[in-house]
């Protein structure tokens, strides 16, 4: 029941009771309620003629950066005694200074400007219309309006820097870079020996080996370093990323994706990104800062989705030919091994960066004996899973997200594992 209806009903009741009992004092009891109604009528809001402007201090920021929203609302109509101007904030944004809602008096043809500061989480945030609710002083009459004013704020993912990610794909591109190409030529790392050819630099002659041979001079050959095709696959499946209490490890996966993409692009590689989450999205491969910007924008919008397994994960050969490098960033689940084995069988060099979901989840579950036991079982299962992957020739980084990403990468990849050498020399070819 509206407030006006309730008041009217009570006034009728009082008047009828007073007349029925012929009691004038009883009728007079209706006076406060009648005056209250009249006060509501007096200077109540008329039609709303408002317009609004919004200015956002930055359109692209990093998480934790403050953004100032400036609003100006102009009243083109009659004076409004009390109007609530509410700027609904998108989810995951919060006000750190100032107010997003104002309860103000707007004179006729006057305006009000105010600002507030927000911070938020990664994502693309869209601002909606401003809500205006004008009321009389006693809140009996209400007029509502939506003031069209839009805006967008892109909060990019956090950036974690990794200097170098030592990948070793079987196939590289023709341009020079920093990835060993498994071919002799000019470079830094020793690759092998060959017979001296006219034009070889005397510095490259291997005098020690040449001295042991008759009439043959040998030159050192160095490993060529080139750029490579790298596809980053970010696993955004909800079932492997989200845990009880609305805790998610996905942000750490995004952070790892940014670090890996930035590092590989800085070294001149051709990098593409596939986000396998709410929407499956390919960022086609490219080079340089422009590509980094595209990847950052796509990662800013990455969200987890309901996809259960990797059945629909198809790596287009046109973009990533076999023998190129695929980096999967995923907490992993037991059913993923078969897909990764298929990718290996197609000739892709696989590196799996796996944020450790067991450590992540156990940290939020307390320290009871049952939790310890469950953690131990889960850890053993994960260890078996990772071992199985390693046996298929997949390089795995098990990243406890409590550690900095760079540290985890450095300790896991600083020295290529023995089996990688074996694979590259053809011993472990499948």
């Amino acid at each position: 029941m509206s407030r006006i209806t309730l008041l009217a009903a009570l006034i009728y009741l009082i008047i009828l009771a007073g007349v029925g009992t012929l009691n004038g004092a009883m009728v007079a009891l209706a006076l406060p309620l009648v005056l209250y109604l009249l006060a509501g009528l007096w200077r109540g809001p008329e039609e709303l003629h408002l317009s609004a402007e919004r200015t956002i201090s930055a359109e692209r920021v990093a998480p934790g950066d403050s953004v100032v929203i400036e609003l100006k609302v102009t009243n083109h109509g009659e004076a409004l005694e009390q109007v609530l101007l509410h700027d609904p904030l998108p989810a995951f944004l919060s006000v750190v200074e100032g107010a997003s809602s104002r309860l103000v008096n707007l004179p006729a043809h006057g305006s009000i400007s105010w600002s507030y500061t927000i911070q938020g989480k990664r994502g693309s945030h869209y601002f909606e219309n401003i809500q205006a609710i004008a009321e009389d002083r006693l809140g009996l009459m209400t007029k509502r309006a939506l003031l069209p004013t839009r805006g967008q704020l892109l909060i990019l993912p956090s950036i974690s820097r990794v200097r170098h990610i030592p990948i070793q794909p079987r196939q590289t591109r023709v341009y020079s870079g920093v990835i060993p190409a498994h071919q002799g030529g000019t470079g830094i790392e020793f690759f092998g020996l060959r017979e001296y050819q006219a034009g070889d630099s005397p510095h490259h002659i291997n005098w020690r080996v040449s001295a042991r041979q008759d009439n043959v001079i040998y030159s050192n050959e160095y490993e060529q370093e080139r750029v490579a095709d790298v596809g980053i696959v970010l696993d955004g499946r909800r079932k492997v990323n989200e845990f009880g209490g609305r805790r998610s490890i996905f942000e750490d996966s995004v952070l790892a994706s940014v670090a890996v993409a930035s590092s590989l692009l800085a070294e001149g590689n051709r990098v593409g990104l596939f986000i396998y989450g709410k929407r499956n999205k390919w960022t086609s491969p490219g080079y340089g800062k422009y590509q980094r910007e595209r990847i950052m924008q796509d990662l800013a919008l990455a969200e987890t989705g309901e996809t259960q397994n990797f059945n629909s994960l198809i790596i287009p050969r046109r973009l990533f030919p076999p023998n190129s490098q695929i980096i999967l960033i995923s907490p992993l689940s037991g059913g993923d091994v078969s897909l990764l084995m298929q990718l290996r069988a197609r000739g892709y060099q696989l590196l799996v960066i796996s944020p450790d979901p067991v450590s992540f989840e156990s940290r939020g579950l307390g320290d009871s004996p049952s939790v310890k036991l469950a953690t131990r079982i889960a850890r053993l299962q994960r260890e078996v899973l990772l071992r199985e992957l390693r046996h298929t020739g997949v390089q795995v980084i098990n990243w406890d997200v409590a550690r900095p990403f760079e540290q985890a990468v450095r300790s896991a990849l600083s020295r290529p594992t023995a089996f990688l050498h074996a694979i590259q020399r053809g011993v472990g070819k499948q």
Binding site: A8, V27, P32, E46, H86, G98
Partner: protein
Amino acid sequence: MTRNFVYVSILASAAALTYSLAANDFIPVSVTVALLGIAWIVLFMRGLHRFSGLAFSIFIIISLASLWADVSSWLALAGVIFSLLAWDLTKFSQRLQNTNSPQDARRAERAHFSRLTLVIDLSLAGYFAATRIHVTLTFGAAALLALLGIWGISALVYRLRSHE
């Protein structure tokens, strides 16, 4: 400040009606009114504001009943005015929660209280005048006046609702 005034208004309304009924030997009814006042306060504290209209209506009916039972008319008026204040301020406190600007809230509180003070002052003055002026009416004249009053209130309500 508004929340404190809600508590004060509920207490004052319940106290005025409890005292007036107890003074006229309606002890069980006065205890019931006191308990209703406590229940209203508890509902407000728990944020169950949708019950404030019901509580307000009950207190108005009790005020009418107490006046019919020949208690002091001024205490019955106090019951009406304070329950009206409690009901109004409950809604106003909800409105204040929609703004996160303390300055705006203070300014709105000042304006709201000044408007309420005006309503209460006029009510007291009107009631005082009504109790002093004695006009003898037949039932027919009283009923005609009542119909006129109801028509006036209906017109006012229609006007207010049509503006929404």
